[in-house]
């Protein structure tokens, strides 16, 4: 696998954030001016429990270099238990994708609360770093021709 070491390359990461905690945490990062890499594109969903395996795979297929799903910490879910169902779905999906050779770090999961602005910035930094180390996504990307080479 050819590694892109170009420091200029900024990966494109899709982040599915739950409205009540992680999206609010992302806002708080802004209010507090914590800086993080301009790599993520946030899709607001009501709950991490709304995020299906299909959505994550679709993001990869569309060419996302990484996918981040973030929800409320266990116990904090606005909808009582959505994040706990999500946790099981993600655990199995992540293991399955790694099993078939999708690089660990392409998809990431985190819990970020509405008061964790700095934590959100750190999560984005870490996810971006992990994806950068992997280079542009090629596996499960539908239109390889449109990817930078």
């Amino acid at each position: 696998m050819e590694q892109v070491t170009n420091a200029e390359w900024e990966p494109r990461i899709i982040a599915f954030l739950c409205n009540w905690c992680s999206y609010a945490g992302a806002d708080l990062a802004g209010v507090s001016r914590y800086q993080y890499p301009p790599s993520i594109r946030i899709v607001r969903v009501p709950c991490s429990g709304r995020v299906s395996a299909n959505m994550i795979l679709d993001a990869l297929r569309a060419g996302a270099d990484g996918v981040l799903v973030s929800g409320c910490h266990p116990g904090d879910c606005h909808y009582i238990s959505g994040n706990l169902y999500a946790r099981r779905r993600f655990a199995l999906l992540e293991r399955l994708l790694e099993f078939v050779g999708v690089e660990p770090g392409r998809i990431s999961f985190s819990w970020v609360s509405a008061s964790e602005g700095e934590q959100f910035a750190k999560v984005v930094e870490e996810v971006t770093e992990r994806v950068k180390r992997l280079g542009p996504a090629r596996r499960l990307v539908k239109e390889i021709s449109s990817c930078p080479s």
Binding site: N54, R88, L93, R95, G101, P104, V123, E126
Partner: protein, 347 residues
């Protein structure tokens, strides 16, 4: 002649015949001999005369649970899609079930696909079904014209040869790693029960893949599915695939493309396996049905392993336990959650 199978086949005939004769069931689903050597095909007997065609051997590789929902519907009086079922007991059907098939039936009951009270299950302890491809390999891929089964050996004949092979050597991989050959639920038994088995390395096939590097795994995965024709035989024989519109056929939204594009094929296999997570009983029908010999069972087997590891769950063993993706525990493992420097960071 396999004495064990013959006895089981005979008992199935007797039970089916009496069930049909008494009117207890409207139809009985079992196996009958196929037209090719070493082939069995699912068979529905509708009267006691047809029950005489039922048979049993080590070649019953397709899971009968798959046909059960449709068979149940077929014996109901016709009605419109949203019309409520008529009052009173609807006709029953009989079916043969080994360990894995019966576990599928448990899942089907849990997912409202079959009404347990309408099914008379004739349980059979599985001795492991034979993989025809293994038989072919064991005789050097020569053309086979007849296979005769004895209890522990198979006598394979072809043009100018006759070889005796050990039956167990030709048994399917999923059967070799099966812990629960006995039916979980049944109303009658054909043959005896054999008890749970101890298999220390039941996931060795998965572990071998896991031991590879990520790039090697990707290579393996690509090679494994490269011959896929997208014929969907694996899906069609799966007793868990009963969506009216499969995601591969859906156009709104179009989750995967319909061609044999390698990404779409990969996504098909990933999602097909994922949909079986926590539900698959490793019956092996998918592999047995695949015309290209793709070992897609490994994907579902991997999920089976993870579900046991993470949630201590095996589908079909307990009718009351909710399926793992329909429930949660507050303290489910979550070491895959990234914590970005916070305590508990695992990665």
């Amino acid at each position: 002649m396999s004495i064990v199978n013959q006895k089981i086949g005979g008992e199935i005939q007797t039970i089916a015949s009496s069930l049909l004769e008494s009117g207890e069931v409207a139809a009985f689903l079992g196996y009958t001999k196929g037209s090719l050597p070493g082939m069995m095909r699912p068979y529905v007997a509708r009267d006691s005369g047809e029950a005489g065609n039922l048979s049993w051997s080590s070649f019953c590789v397709i899971n009968l649970a798959n046909y059960l929902p449709a068979l149940l519907r077929s014996v109901e009086p016709p009605r419109r899609p949203n019309e409520p079922p008529p009052e009173g007991q609807l006709p029953k059907v009989g079916v043969v079930a080994t360990g894995c098939w019966s576990r599928n039936m448990v899942v089907q009951v849990q997912e409202n696909q079959i009404d347990r009270s309408r099914v008379v299950i004739v349980g059979v302890s599985s001795r492991g079904m034979v993989d025809r491809r293994k038989v072919e390999r064991l005789v050097g891929n020569r053309e086979i014209t007849a296979i005769e089964e004895e209890d522990n050996v198979l006598i394979v004949r072809g043009k100018g040869f006759e070889e005796t092979i050990n039956r167990w050597d030709a048994v399917r991989d999923n059967c070799k790693t099966c812990l629960h050959p006995d039916p979980v639920i049944y109303d009658e038994l054909a043959g005896g029960l054999s008890g749970d088995r101890q298999i220390p390395d039941r996931f060795h096939e998965v572990e071998e893949i896991e031991a590879l590097s990520v790039d090697e795994r990707w290579k393996w995965f690509q090679e494994e599915i490269s011959s896929c024709l997208r014929c969907y035989a694996c899906r069609n024989v799966c007793p868990l695939c009963y969506c009216p519109t499969c995601f591969v056929d859906d156009s709104r939204p179009q989750w995967v493309g319909k061609s044999t594009d390698e990404v779409d094929t990969a996504l098909f296999h990933i999602l097909r396996a994922y949909h079986c997570a926590g539900r698959c009983t490793d019956c092996g029908s998918c592999e047995s049905a695949c015309p290209m010999g793709i070992r897609m069972r490994l994907f579902t087997k991997k999920l089976q392993k993870d579900v046991i590891e993470l949630y201590g769950f095996e589908p079909g063993l307990e009718a009351d336990a909710p399926l793992p993706l329909s429930t949660y525990k507050v303290d489910d493992p979550e070491d895959f959650i990234i914590t970005a420097g916070k305590k508990g960071d695992q990665k």
